[in-house]
């Protein structure tokens, strides 16, 4: 579907820039220009910033350590005494001190936050609940997975596929999201979590609890 530009007159008088200079005697085709190659910026493995900006991130200590290990030459480029001297630039000594203090504060804060998040994660429980619908029919409800950064929709899909049954994400009575799978599959789900199959990974098995929810008292 190439348009035959050469033969047909141009459809619109597109003003090309080199037209203004010489009017009639133009070489029709210039050799195609090469695209400019992109600049390759090296980004930090830890904070994703260009290396020179690590000092403004919230993981400066780790950034530095990681770079020292992986690339000594670059490390010296950014963190040798000379480099440190020159980067202060026009900033006053006082302002530089403040900046360093701020950076340290930011880092401590980020660490504390990560720590708290980890603790919370380790403390959260996942429950697999077998719920009796009728004498023979059960559903299995799982909740608490989101604390382990598991995508509930994906997890439901995985389970539905695995057991060839229905599985959905719904809100329970407390307004919390849970996955409801048709049928009694609590033991199988426990096993899947233990193995960490598919998206259902990263849950310490000690944090998983299997409970039963029966309509009537357990029969003798």
């Amino acid at each position: 579907m190439g348009r035959k530009r050469a033969q047909s007159p141009p459809r619109q008088a597109a003003p090309t820039e080199d037209e203004g200079a010489g009017s009639s005697s133009q070489q029709p085709v210039e050799p195609p220009k090469e695209p400019t190659p992109p600049v390759r910026v090296i980004y930090c493995d830890v904070c994703s910033f260009p290396l020179e900006y690590c000092e403004f991130g919230s993981s400066f200590t780790r950034c530095k350590e990681s770079l020292k290990e992986s690339n000594e030459e670059l490390y010296n480029k950014y963190y040798s005494d000379e480099a440190l001297q020159s980067k202060i630039g026009t900033l006053s000594l006082e302002a530089q001190k403040k900046l360093e203090k701020d950076a340290a504060k930011k880092e401590a804060k980020a660490e504390a936050k990560a720590d708290a998040a980890l603790k919370k994660k380790l403390a959260s429980q996942v429950t697999i609940k077998r719920i009796e619908r009728t004498k023979r029919k059960h559903v299995t409800a799982i909740h608490g997975l989101e604390a382990f950064s598991i995508d509930l929709k994906k997890a439901a899909k995985q389970l539905a596929g695995r057991f060839a049954t229905g599985a959905s994400v719904t809100k329970n009575a407390q307004g919390l999201d849970e996955i409801v799978v048709q049928g009694d599959v609590s033991d199988e789900i426990l096993e899947i979590l233990e193995k960490g199959e598919g998206v259902l990974k990263g849950v310490p098995i000690d944090n998983v609890q299997v409970v039963e929810d029966k309509k009537k008292k357990t029969e003798g």
Binding site: K33, V39, P50, E52, T90, L91, L99
Partner: protein, 184 residues
């Protein structure tokens, strides 16, 4: 624009852009950036479809091969993403803030004139002045690579003269939620 941006809730949907519209966008990008057509072709090949990722508050991100390459607010200019600007730093005129302003920029602040006019800042000389409402690459004192992309609120000559208030409005900056998105 991307200070608090959560892809799972702030994105309304992905739509491939019609060829005719793509042609128009390409022409606009070519006129708004200082880029050679063949380089743009390397970034965004004609045979590769552009995808419009519609976001909240009239923000549009455009991707090629699921990599965000530029974005737009309402029908404003097409801002290159910072990652793209890092690859092709010459496509936008450059301004620079002093070292003291960097941490404010990284917190999402707009850039005040004094941070641009101080000894560590940089604005082009009068003969290369940048008018108001133009996209600029925001560089930082002592750093090689750009730290943000913004739009001038005053002409650079006015920034020097008035030296007060916001000089450059920040559209995207290092470490914002757009930076975090490598593929969409």
């Amino acid at each position: 624009m991307f200070k608090k941006f959560v892809p799972s809730t702030d994105i309304a949907g992905h739509t491939p852009v019609k060829t005719s519209v793509q042609r128009q966008i390409r022409a606009n990008v070519l006129s708004q950036w200082k880029i050679e057509p063949e380089t743009l072709e390397a970034i965004w090949p004609k045979k590769e479809g552009l995808v419009h990722v519609k976001c909240r508050e009239h923000v549009s991100i455009y991707t090629v091969n699921s990599e965000p390459i530029f974005f737009q607010h309402f029908d404003g200019p097409f801002y290159p993403t910072l990652r793209l600007l890092h690859k092709y730093p010459y496509i936008l005129p450059k301004v620079q803030v002093d070292r003291g302003a960097i941490r404010f920029l990284l917190a999402g602040a707009h850039m005040m004139c004094p941070g641009l006019t101080s000894a560590g800042g940089y604005l082009p000389p009068a003969e290369e002045a940048i008018p108001a409402e133009r996209m600029v690459a925001i560089h930082a004192e002592g750093k090689e690579h750009a730290v943000g992309v913004g739009i001038t609120k005053l002409s650079t000559e006015d920034m020097k003269k008035i030296n007060k208030g916001v000089g450059v409005e920040t559209a995207t900056y290092l470490g914002d939620d757009l930076w975090a998105i490598q593929t969409l």
